[in-house]
Subunit: 269 residues, 2 copies
């Protein structure tokens, strides 16, 4: 059974006011076309970036395949001067390489984890990306390990291992230079770079700032109410663990039904 596929809606010429008043509150991914990004989309060529970026050493992810796996870590960390990185990343085959002549490079300028609880605009300045998104409502089909999905090969998933994955609704888009993708907080995203390119992510807090952990520099942490609820739940499970297995199992199922009844959204979209 193949999962449902949806294209991400694309809109051209959206004003800031239209976005903020009508589109942003819908909490759905959206590709904005024709946004005025200034001269960067034509100016940030390989040569230009090599030149202005200079020789400062940068730490990069290097993997033999395009799909980096942040659970099993199929990549290694290496360093290169910035200008060399840009040159190499733009090559089809590498004469000099760390792991293979087809290796891929990824330079991330900030922390390790995607910002799960912040809203995000992914600005595709140059190059092409394919992005597949999944709704937080489908979290139970994604085989999460922490906040990441174990299913990496989303185009040819191992359905014997991940049978529920076929139920996840898949939202897909291709980004070209100049496109801006709105990724609402909590949406899962799987990104393949189809050619060398530069993406700029803008993150901002969706909820009032008092909802977030004050020590959360990178915006990766759960809202404080969610962390507290998880801690309280652990106390409930510790209490339940006093019972023999069959009772624990039964009352755990009752708890799940209660959560589904009280806290799940009635709207499944």
């Amino acid at each position: 059974m193949a999962g449902q596929h949806f294209p991400v809606t694309r809109l051209e010429g959206v004003s800031r006011e239209q976005f903020m008043q009508h589109l942003y509150p819908q909490r759905k991914p959206l590709v904005l076309e024709g946004i005025d990004l200034g001269p960067c989309t034509s100016k940030w060529t390989v040569d230009y970036l090599s030149q202005v970026g200079g020789k400062k050493e940068v730490k990069i992810h290097v993997a033999a395949v395009a799909q980096m796996d942040f659970i099993s870590k199929n990549f290694v960390y290496r360093s290169l001067p910035f200008d060399q990185l840009v040159q190499r990343a733009a090559e089809e085959k590498h004469k000099e390489f760390f792991v293979s002549e087809d290796e891929k490079y990824y330079l991330r300028s900030l922390g390790e984890d995607p910002r799960k609880v912040m809203d995000n605009l992914l600005i595709q300045v140059t190059g092409k990306k394919r992005v597949v998104l999944f709704s937080p409502r489908d979290a139970q089909y994604l085989y999460l390990k922490g906040t990441k999905s174990e299913v990496l090969n989303i185009d040819n998933p191992d359905l014997a291992k991940y049978p529920l994955f076929s139920k996840a609704r898949r939202y897909e888009c291709s980004l070209e230079a100049g496109d801006v993708l709105f990724i609402p907080a909590l949406w899962f995203h799987n990104v393949i770079s189809e050619e060398f390119g530069v993406g700029v992510n803008i993150f901002w807090k969706h909820l009032p700032s008092e909802c977030y952990d004050k020590t959360d520099t990178y915006g990766n942490k759960d809202p404080t109410a969610a962390s507290r609820a998880a801690q309280i739940l652990d106390r409930a499970l510790k209490t339940l663990a006093e019972l023999p297995e069959e009772y624990r199992d039964f009352y755990a199922r009752r708890m799940v039904l209660h959560i589904q009844d009280k806290a799940y959204s009635k709207n499944s979209e």
Copy 2:
């Protein structure tokens, strides 16, 4: 899709020691045949019961159909002298009746609810019953309202309304005079009396007595650890309710995955 059907295992000539050491710990329903029940199976006829039971008024359930619905309450409470009740209950059609000439009667000598958290021996003294049981592991397919299933017409369920019901594994047996059915604590049971008869239920506590609520006269209440866990969970849900709907939904799903991982039994039988 029809659910899986299993016959309840029937065993003849089981000794008390065999039952306690080998069968009881398996926590599965079981029909014991040929247990020495004394003379009651032949002695408790309609005439004998009318005679020894006398004219004491008893409160009974009266319903137009055999399947009494303890959620919507499709029955009425009435009173009859015990001897008249026995006579009426043994008739095919009633000349005197409360709701219809086909009405069914049920006399229960103790509290209203089935004893969900106690082990139970249902001794079929006279008459015939058909009993269908469902494992507590299948609670999520039974559309529970409190501790009772909304699905009453289990032979022809409304699968448009109760689609998951077809996943519930069904254990079935027919009881005749002299049969004794072991119903482990937490197992759901659906009983149809196929003719007039008398059943005697023996309930006893499976867990050490300190696990139960001391005010629980009828053995209907959840073990105290389960009640406490449910109360703690309510606090967690109250905390989660501080978040907007989409976050609440997402973190509720994460909580469910956590419960399934930590508290569900790995053995699905």
